[in-house]
């Protein structure tokens, strides 16, 4: 601290608490709405304090969902989201590790060509090529499958760049030593490179899990069967239904369920999350 100004410090705390309150307000309102019975959520003004129906609503959301929907609840949607998020995160990390290893540790023809080809993916987010990508996936028969949900999203220049950066900081002596001991390239990759980039892999996993879980546009395009819906899509579906029968307690419970896994990941793996965010610049 530069100088002691207790009043300014108190003022800083007040401002920060206000800021936290503004940020947390939507979540509080969601939590409150998820803990009241359906009837209460149609009476103006809506409650600002939690009620006693939280677990009842949780049960309804998980086992039945909203009335007027297929009656299967949102549990399977959470499993779909989990499968998609895991496949995207693991897939991205695996193919990026391999290609970064090839580009940093091997001299081979077309090396820079491949590097630039990977770089280009940075410039083609799914939003700008939705129609043709949809056609490709449809032609490959991957609509309404987990493969179709995840594979088109797993090519990533940022992950490859990050691992390239990590590998470049690993001392050359390690490779020399490994070679003297008679280790081949793949042995070196598994026994030295992977253990040495463990924290980077974990940090990237945190970021990619959140990215995968929150995907919306892509699943919206390629799934038509309700059994393949993700939880994030479930919210939108409920909001549409809400125009006829408002069941805000169930919708907000679903929103709560949809944000719980990624938020828990951020809070409980905060240092990895921050590391991942600053290293990949997103």
């Amino acid at each position: 601290m530069i100088e002691n100004r207790p009043l300014l410090t108190i003022f800083s705390h007040i401002m920060l608490i206000l800021g936290v309150a503004v940020i947390a307000l939507p979540i509080w309102i969601m939590f409150v709405a998820a803990s009241h019975p359906e009837i209460r959520m149609t009476q103006v003004p809506l409650p600002m304090l939690p009620g006693g129906h939280f677990f009842e609503n949780l049960d309804i959301a998980l086992s039945r969902g909203m009335s007027g929907m297929d009656g299967n609840g949102v549990g399977y949607m959470m499993l779909n989201s989990l499968a998609m998020a895991m496949m995207i995160a693991v897939g991205k990390i695996a193919i990026s590790l391999l290609s970064a290893f090839a580009i940093v540790y091997f001299r081979f023809p077309f090396r820079m060509f491949f590097f630039w080809m990977i770089f280009i993916t940075l410039m083609l987010p799914v939003e700008v090529r939705i129609l043709p990508t949809y056609e490709v996936v449809a032609n490959l028969g991957m609509l309404d499958t987990y493969w179709g949900l995840s594979i088109p999203l797993i090519a990533s220049a940022t992950a490859t760049f990050m691992f390239r950066q990590v590998f470049l900081t690993i001392p050359d002596e390690l490779l020399e030593a490994a070679r003297i001991d008679g280790a081949g390239p793949m042995r070196f990759f598994w026994d030295i490179l992977i253990p040495m980039s463990r924290t980077n892999i974990a940090a990237l996993f945190v970021i990619l899990f959140i990215y995968g879980w929150n995907q919306y546009l892509w699943p919206l395009l390629i799934t038509s069967e309700t059994s393949m819906y993700t939880i994030v899509m479930g919210i939108k579906q409920m909001l549409e239904a809400a125009e006829q029968v408002p069941q805000w307690n169930i919708i907000m419970m679903t929103a709560l369920l949809a944000m719980l896994p990624p938020v828990c990941v951020v809070i409980f793996m905060q240092s990895l999350f921050v590391k991942g965010l600053t290293e990949t610049e997103k």
């Binding site: 936290v20 309102i29 001299r107 023809p109 990977i118 939003e127 921050v274």
Partner: protein, 293 residues
Amino acid sequence: MLKNVHFGPSVLPFLLVLPQIIVTLVFFIWPASQALYQSLLLEDAFGLKTEFVWFRNFEDLLSDPLYWDSFKITIVFSFLVAFLSMSFALILALFADRVIKGSGAYRTLLIWPYAVAPVTAGALWVFMFNPTLGIVSYALSALGYEWNHQLNGGEAMALVVMASAWKQVAYNFLFFLAGLQSIPKSLIEAAAIDGAGPMRRTIDIVLPLLSPTTFFLLVINIVYAFFETFGVIHVVTAGGPAGATNILVYKVFNDGFVGLDLGGSAAQSVILMIMVIALTVVQFKYVEKRVDY
């Protein structure tokens, strides 16, 4: 780029890059080239006949006042999202950098909205501002203001901006705080000895030294507002009322999948691609000059 000590030529490196190259070719480069090609085609309403029309889709697009409206809306939207979330985050980061006790706790409490999906964020805000039931619209009507974003375009814009900015504050806060903490303490101390108060030091020393972070975040926020807010728009307003929140990404989706105008949608995709490329170049050019964390 390449290690001084490396493995000799063999077939192995090709096998290693193969998975990523296949995915890139099949799901990125091929669709992007298809978009380029389709943008030069005109398909009739029943999809029976396609005609090669050179740049007519682009000419149609650029002479379409609706497209320019969407363009203007996107610019206004991105600017408002970037400005709102960055200024809010900067103010909080300045205070958090000052307090010693509890800055970690504040960080935890401020960063988690990053993990909330745009659709979820949209659902929360649309619930709070629901014209008949919402808590905020109830409070506003008690103050004598009737909120209805389903009818009023300006209110619809305000709502999508708030929902999008709310989610992005976390990211900006994290980077601003890291930027502030990397400013050498000796500079601040020197200014304090010269008699500069906290306000003066912030304006004359801290903010200028923070400008690389600010610029970096500006680019990131614009990219975010351009491409990642689709979920917010889809849930909150669906581009309405009367196209008041129809941003470019939403228009590509709407014209392509709902309106089935393939050529026009592809031409819009191509224009968006050019914008992403420009933004990526800007980002990479200035990222090097960014402060180190």
